[in-house]
């Protein structure tokens, strides 16, 4: 007789693909590494420390929350770590640590865990954290340092941060800040002012390519998003720039790459079908340009993604794939 005591009965299918949640999140973290390296080069070691603090805070908040509500701890899926890194990446390097920690709390507890955690939240946690910080401490959140200057590693308040402030390229274009526009090349490499993770378009493109290659994300959202911004900035040049120049600045500044590859693609807060993702991307693009051109602040990526996050359910509803074998009439409508 054979020993069947270990036999498990489950429903089909009985084989599964290799990928799992953790490996996907791991891929995202890997894809963010190039940007982390460039930022560290540009802004110094404080970048690493900021990222570490943010990740640690996110993991701790998630653990505490799970403890309180009596759920199994979920930090193993690494989604909180991704949130942590991305939150740090959308903050200026000079942000006091305590503010960053508050932001992490907002991200993980308010925007994610209260709704049931991974996959249940409707709004991008990292960006919600950023929006909270921006509205609460706008000064701290818009104090940029010039590339190459080193902010104090451990200082925790604005005053003691010993760095030269600079303006972001977009702020200069918009005219809300003084300064010379950096060259396109230096923007590609990341030698300009801005949030920690958004400065180097090249590093972000490498990360995005990695995600595409690993099939973690599909090209639909980033392509639609970047394409829309490109077309609009090309057609309607900003701040006295030439058409093409305006487009290039529009694409490579203001965290558009970060947003398009890493944040608009966040699974929980974007549509599930490719058609929906295209609509979502276009919406993000339109809103980004609208906010950049007409809004109260020069930078529109964060808010445009947040705004589109609120429409995901509707988009999903109206971009549902037509089922196989649907009657012809339904086909046309769908």
């Amino acid at each position: 007789m054979y020993d069947f005591s270990k036999v498990v009965i489950t429903s089909s299918p009985h084989i599964k693909s290799k990928e799992d949640t953790r490996s996907i999140m791991c891929d995202v973290l890997i894809a963010l590494l190039p940007s982390l390296f460039v930022s560290t080069y540009v802004f110094g070691l404080r970048v690493i420390l900021m990222t570490a603090v943010s990740v640690a805070a996110c993991l701790v908040f998630e653990t505490i929350y799970n403890k309180i509500v009596g759920k199994a701890n979920t930090i193993g899926d690494l989604s909180a770590a991704v949130t942590g890194v991305l939150l740090a990446f959308v903050c200026p390097v000079t942000l006091p640590y305590w503010m960053l920690i508050v932001g992490a709390g907002v991200s993980i507890i308010l925007a994610k865990s209260l709704f049931g955690g991974l996959g249940k939240n409707f709004i991008n946690p990292a960006l919600a954290g950023r929006a909270f910080l921006l509205a609460s401490w706008p000064v701290a959140m818009t104090t940029w340092v010039t590339a190459g200057s080193r902010a104090g590693l451990l200082s925790n308040s604005q005053e003691t941060l010993d760095a030269i402030t600079a303006a972001t390229p977009l702020a200069i274009i918009k005219g809300s800040a003084e300064g010379d526009l950096p060259s396109i090349a230096s923007m590609l490499w990341g030698m300009c002012g801005g949030s920690m993770g958004e400065v180097s378009a090249i590093a972000l493109l490498i990360g995005g390519a990695y995600l595409l290659f690993r099939k973690v994300i599909s090209f639909h959202t980033p392509a639609a998003y970047i394409g829309t911004v490109a077309v609009l900035t090309l057609l309607f040049p900003a701040g006295g720039l030439g058409h093409v120049q305006s487009m290039l600045y529009g694409l490579f500044s203001g965290g558009l790459m970060l947003g398009a590859f890493f944040m608009a693609t966040d699974y929980s807060t974007s549509p599930v079908s490719h058609k929906g993702q295209v609509v979502f991307g276009i919406g993000c693009g339109l809103l980004t340009v609208m906010i950049r051109y007409f809004g109260g602040y020069p930078e529109g990526v964060c808010y445009s993604i947040l705004l589109m996050n609120t429409t995901v359910w509707l988009i999903d509803k109206y971009t549902r794939p037509t089922k196989f074998g649907a009657p012809a009439k339904q086909k046309k409508e769908g």
Binding site: F115, I123, G295, W313
Partner: protein, 194 residues
């Protein structure tokens, strides 16, 4: 033309009645469990806000102002609105039952909707002319509709998948969602298009 455009954009996005002015919160939370009903409520509010703007503007301009009765705006306006709403409700119920089913059932809620009286008073405060008042009323209503439909879609999603702690279920999590939504709508603040 530009003023109409800027009024519209302002009312729909920038100074959204719900998300930045807090007018009409009760129906916003009360009638936003399903997208369909939220849409119906949005339509009804838009209709009443437009109509109320027109009527109150007329009353204000041709009756109250000439007689120096500015202090009676609140009373006069609300009386007009309440009667109007009740009248429309009865009218719809009898004459257009289909429309009544879609809109009419929300009408009683609208009498006590801050947005309606709010828009009437704001029209006066901002010194809008007749056309501008109507535009402000209608677009304010559209802004309300935008907010409530989006909000309803979020609540449908919460209903379908969220797992919040027991004490946050229902209104609290809805409020938190509204808070996050308002945060997103901050993106429109300070916007100038004209």
């Amino acid at each position: 033309m530009t003023s109409i455009l800027s009024i519209s954009l302002g009312a729909i996005l920038i100074n959204n009645f719900i998300l930045s002015q807090f007018l009409g919160c009760c129906p916003f939370f009360g009638v936003s469990k399903k997208i369909d009903t939220a849409f119906g409520m949005g339509m009804a509010v838009t209709f009443v806000m437009g109509l109320a703007s027109a009527v109150t503007w007329l009353i204000n301009t041709f009756v109250l102002m000439p007689l120096g009765l500015g202090f009676m705006q609140t009373v006069a306006f609300i009386l007009v609105i309440a009667t109007l709403v009740q009248f429309i409700e009865m009218f719809l119920m009898k004459s257009m039952p289909a429309l009544y089913q879609a809109l009419g059932i929300f009408l009683p809620l609208i009498t006590t909707n801050c947005a309606v009286l709010g828009v009437a008073l704001q029209n006066v405060q901002k010194g809008y002319n007749f056309l501008e008042s109507i535009v402000y009323g209608v677009t304010g209503g559209l802004g309300f509709m935008l907010a409530i439909v989006l909000f309803a879609s979020i609540r449908e999603r919460l209903d379908a998948s969220a797992e919040c702690p027991k004490c946050f279920e229902g209104v609290p999590i809805a409020l938190i969602s509204a808070s996050l939504m308002a945060m997103a709508f901050l993106g429109f603040s300070g916007m100038k298009i004209w």
